[in-house]
């Protein structure tokens, strides 16, 4: 039994495929096979060109901080002990943005455009979350 107490993603469908790559410590995003546009979150179709053809493609893992908030007061019971913490939006080199956290920078020290790179946190035996550290 895991003693991890924070909410976990459900691992079905395309979301599950995304997290299955994370479990292998690889960050993959969908890329349209026709117009080559990366997308996140996972979608059935390419909203740019309408294509149904896509494949999971590896990300460089590199990105920069786009924006963040600092949760000072918990609004969800699971995160009471985590405050203050900062959900961070990272803009990846592929152009997609991903909500995550930067594990080695205190919320007060975050800066927009700060360079970060992915690392993986095996929070349970089933779930690995993509997180970031300062590059």
């Amino acid at each position: 039994m895991s003693d991890y107490t924070l909410p976990l993603p459900e691992l079905d469908g395309l979301h599950g495929e995304f997290f299955a790559h994370c479990k292998n410590h690889a960050l993959h995003f969908q890329r349209c096979d026709d117009c080559q546009t990366f997308r996140h979150v996972p979608r059935e179709m390419c909203p740019e060109c309408g294509s149904w053809n896509w494949s999971w493609q590896p990300s460089s893992g590199r990105g920069k901080v786009f924006t963040w908030t600092v949760v000072a007061r918990p609004m969800h019971p699971a995160f009471v002990d985590a405050c203050p913490y900062a959900p961070v939006v990272v803009e990846m080199e592929e152009g997609v943005r991903l909500l995550s956290e930067v594990v080695d920078v205190a919320p007060a020290d975050l800066e927009i455009d700060m360079a970060v790179e992915v690392q993986f946190d095996d929070v349970t035996s089933d779930v690995t979350l993509p997180k970031f550290k300062r590059a």
Binding site: L6, P9, F66, W68, V70, V89, R97
Partner: protein, 390 residues
């Protein structure tokens, strides 16, 4: 849509309950909305059986239950617009279309809840992601990282605006202070009698930085409702019709995911506002006042920009110097809004606009008010707007 004056939609009745936090309304969620509804129906000079259209607020009630209590024996039109706090103005648009085309004669739009004494937002939105569009996205990609409730979602945009345009905490404070100042002229407001200074604002604790507690709307019990009909029908009724000159709704893109928008400041209102002004045949500068959905301070600033009261990036300076207070160029939320009157899900904004246009706003009446703009904001940035005139 071009319509004859006879068929133009108008608001003919308004109702609003008492507003409170402690000890709670003492009514059920349906009951408090029925209270506001019966007031609005009576204000219109109608009876329950006259209501043949009902548009409840999403997740807060079913038309069937309203009809069964109010005695609406001839319910013909019932629908719900799933746009969160953008639903009331979007419902004005749909109700207007319904009465104009004859789908219904008198449409009731209620909204209300026990937002303080009942289930709080941190218990509903935060723990039941299925209640919002994009719920599975929020569950799998936001919730594991602790992004759980609206002030956290929107503060991502607020920080970005501060970065790109130099918007300051004090400018957000100007919005909070204006709403609080207006609430001092509104005895029904929950924050009546509780004045606020900029020092108070800046000293209020952070909730979701850059949002302080005083950047956030208050959670309250209360309900409001309006009745929509045509100008032609209104001639047989006592109240002066408040005409819906234009109304529109829109969604950001993508609407179900808040982090991957090419233009992070584009909301549903960006699309809806030009359409509503074109239909109304007026421009933002024609407005005597605006009732802007003020879930949080920055959303007011953002909507001021997206409506077109000023350019993108100029919202910060726009709200300074009392411009949005009574006596200023564009008074906003003369009732105190969600920030200082009560959280009536945006319906309170419509009701206050009608009061201003009827000339019944009492101490806070804007002299000769003829044209008002009301907006709604919901979910991940859905937007709606109604342009009203007397």
């Amino acid at each position: 849509m071009s319509v004859t004056e006879d068929k133009q939609a108008c608001i003919i009745g308004i109702g609003q309950t008492d507003l409170c936090r402690k000890p709670g309304s003492g009514m059920t969620q349906l009951g408090i909305q029925l209270k506001a509804s019966t007031e609005a129906i009576a204000d219109a000079g109608l009876r329950g059986r006259d209501i043949d259209g009902i548009m409840p607020f999403p997740n807060l009630g079913h038309a069937e239950a309203f009809a069964a209590n109010l005695g609406c024996e001839n319910l013909r039109y019932a629908s719900i617009i799933h746009m969160g706090g953008a639903a009331p103005c979007a419902s004005l648009q749909a109700a207007g279309a319904a009465v104009t085309t004859g789908m219904a004669k008198h449409v009731l739009i209620p909204a209300g809840w026990n937002g303080y004494s009942g289930a709080r937002v941190k218990q509903t939105v935060s723990q039941d992601t299925a209640s919002i569009p994009g719920g599975a996205i929020a569950r799998d990609f936001y919730l594991p990282f602790g992004l759980t409730v609206p002030p956290q979602w929107y503060s991502l945009m607020a920080r970005r605006h501060m970065h790109e345009y130099g918007t300051t905490a004090e400018q957000l404070g100007c919005i909070a202070l204006a709403m609080r100042k207006h609430a001092q002229l509104n005895e029904a407001a929950v924050m009546h009698g509780k004045e606020m200074t900029m020092e108070d604002y800046l000293a209020s604790p952070m909730l979701a930085d850059p949002y302080r507690i005083f950047d956030c709307c208050i959670e309250t019990d209360g309900a409001a409702a309006v009745v929509v009909t045509t100008v032609e029908r209104a001639r047989d009724l006592d109240k002066k019709p408040i005409r819906i000159l234009g109304a529109a709704a829109g969604q950001p893109y993508p609407a179900d995911e808040i982090t991957n928008r090419k233009d992070i400041f584009q909301t549903g209102l960006t699309i809806a506002a030009p359409e509503a002004f074109a239909t109304a045949g007026v421009t933002p500068s024609d407005a005597d006042f605006a009732m802007i959905y003020d879930c949080f301070t920055f959303e007011v600033l953002q909507q001021i920009e997206e409506v077109g009261f000023c350019k993108r990036g100029e919202g910060g300076s726009f709200v300074e110097g009392g411009r949005i207070e009574l006596g200023g160029d564009l008074p906003i939320n003369t009732h105190g809004g969600l920030l200082s009157e009560a959280h009536l899900l945006g319906m309170g904004h419509i009701v206050e606009a009608v009061r201003q246009l009827r000339g019944t706003a009492g101490e806070r009446q804007i002299a000769d008010a003829e044209l008002g703009v009301v907006t709604g904001w919901g979910d991940f940035g859905d937007g709606s707007i109604a342009i009203l005139s007397n």
